[in-house]
């Protein structure tokens, strides 16, 4: 029941709090034994609410990738990819440590927690 939410925080803030603690956590529905992302109050599509947080393996694969062109004085080109996690869900992230236009679909990647603009962020490296 969620009639009174005071004194608690929602899944989005919980996710961010975990990141601040250095943990990349994703949700799993216990009855369905399925992971999902992004964080929600119930399993998308069928509404189960028996959820738990599980630390992600961090293993993933590039589902698609783009090289976002940006002037050097504004930080230069950067990569933006969609990553399919080993657990099944997909998320947006950057792949770093490689030229931003050299990230290819199907490449194996590994997550680490870094920061973007002062906020903790999940970033991936090519394995």
């Amino acid at each position: 029941m969620a009639e009174n939410l005071s004194g608690t925080v929602g899944p989005e803030q919980q996710f961010k709090n975990f990141l601040s603690e250095g943990k990349f956590m994703i949700q799993r529905c216990k009855s369905l034994n399925k992971f999902f992302f992004h964080p929600r109050v119930a399993f998308p599509g069928s509404g189960e609410r028996d959820l738990e947080w599980v630390e992600a393996s961090g293993n993933g694969e590039v589902y698609s990738s783009s090289c976002n062109r940006r002037l050097p004085e504004k930080g230069g080109d950067f990569n933006l990819s969609l990553i399919t996690l080993e657990e099944g869900p997909r998320m947006m992230a950057r792949v770093e440590g490689i030229d931003p236009d050299k990230v290819e679909i199907g490449q194996k990647v590994k997550a680490r927690i870094s920061s973007l603009n002062g906020e903790p962020a999940v970033i991936f490296d090519i394995v």
């Binding site: 989005e12 964080p39 698609s64 933006l80 947006m92 973007l116």
Partner: protein, 396 residues
């Protein structure tokens, strides 16, 4: 309710007036002024007085409550209004809602409208909130989303940037025949022009992306019994359907399959016609990848085969498929949300073929004997998909 109950809307309503306003550059004009000008012109075109309007439908990137703001500006007190905002396809869904409200007897005359001064006001305009779980990575939305789809499409089907470029080349060829098109005087494009244009978000370059212009548009709808007594050729709404599966590109179930598969299937089913029956095909081409995806998802070819379909200028003026005959969002007009312009072109082609004067085109710009048009709208990041099927009276 089964499909038969929904299909009772088939042919029950029609567009009897249309107009565009301020397309291209309209410095010194507000989005509302452009939108309201289009409404008045569309009513003039229909021969219907403003005081008869009792249904108002609008969405913009400038007004959080566009239907209310437009009604107030016009001095109309609508009995039903809808400002649903599902991105660039909003207007094609407004047309469905207007048809429902007209058929239910809630209203008698509906206007569906859009207006934007984004170009003269400084560039692409959005009132979208930042997407949680995406914004911190600073995607260049909406281009990044379409680039991610294009990259995946190329990988899955062996498509190339040349295949994407073919779409832009054909769109420009249509624009060269259309004096209303923003690039009408710009001359043809080559595949090489598209490939060598400034990269924006790889694999998409500047000429894979739509124009950024000002512009407004409006259509006037009535029930069909009244429509046949107006001064223009009524164009009947034969089918309409919508679906969406995601808001954020990271949540799109499959980057190469849009929910146009579902909206198209239901809209065509309602109309009683098939994709190949369409005289003209108007697709929301905010980016070159869109045209490939929608040709496939609406059933003009199998998944992965659109790259063959668009070769040799087959979707250009001399080709077999009459796609985006105004020049599209790529080469005609794109004031931020393009859905009503897809609709206008679908309707204009049918009215011209029926003998109405809806403007001049160079030879080949109007499709002879056009009787059926599909207008397909896209919104968000390949998110909301809405398909409308339009036909002249003998297709009823």
């Amino acid at each position: 309710m089964d499909q038969n109950d929904i299909n009772r809307l088939r042919g029950k309503t029609a567009v009897v007036g249309l107009a565009e306003s301020g397309c291209g550059l309209a410095s010194g004009w507000s989005a509302m002024e452009i939108m309201a000008s289009a409404v008045h012109d569309a009513l003039d075109d229909a021969g219907i007085k403003l005081k008869e309007v009792d249904g108002v439908f609008a969405a913009t990137a400038f007004h959080s409550m566009a239907a209310m703001s437009l009604s107030e500006y016009l001095g109309v007190k609508p009995k039903f209004a809808d400002g649903s905002q599902i991105g660039g396809s909003s207007f094609l869904s407004h047309i469905l809602t207007a048809a429902m409200a007209l058929d239910a007897g809630l209203i008698n005359v509906a206007v569906v409208a859009y207006g934007s001064n984004q170009k003269s006001a400084g560039g692409f305009k959005t009132i979208s909130e930042a997407m949680p779980y995406e914004a911190q990575y600073q995607p260049r939305m909406p281009v990044t989303a379409y680039a991610l789809s294009a990259k995946r499409y190329m990988n899955e089907f062996g498509a190339t940037r040349e295949d994407l470029a073919n779409v832009a080349v054909s769109a420009r060829d249509w624009a060269l025949l259309n004096p209303r098109a923003y690039t009408h005087q710009d001359g043809p494009l080559t595949v090489n022009d598209v490939l060598s244009a400034r990269p924006i978000v790889d694999p998409l370059g500047k000429l894979d992306c739509c124009l950024v212009t000002d512009g407004g548009a409006a259509v006037v709808m009535t029930r069909s019994d009244r429509a046949k007594d107006t001064k223009n050729t009524p164009i009947y709404l034969l089918g309409a359907a919508m679906e969406h599966h995601h808001r954020m590109i990271s949540e799109m179930p499959d980057l190469v399959k849009t929910s146009a598969i579902e909206s198209g299937k239901r809209a065509f089913s309602m109309s009683g016609y098939k994709p190949n029956d369409m005289s003209t095909i108007q697709l929301y081409d905010a980016f070159t990848i869109n045209t490939l995806l929608f040709l496939e998802d609406l059933g003009f070819c199998k998944k992965g085969e659109a790259k063959e379909l668009v070769k040799n200028n087959n979707i250009g003026p001399a080709g077999n498929l009459k796609v985006n005959t105004n020049g599209g969002g790529l080469s005609c007009v794109h004031p931020g949300m393009y859905g009503l312009f897809v609709t206008l072109e679908a309707l204009r082609q049918l009215r011209n073929a029926s003998g109405d004067d809806v403007g001049q085109r160079l030879n080949g710009g109007w499709i002879d004997n056009a009787k059926l048009s599909v207008a397909h709208g896209n919104g968000g990041v390949l998110s909301s998909q809405v398909t409308n099927i339009w036909g002249v009276s003998d297709t009823l």
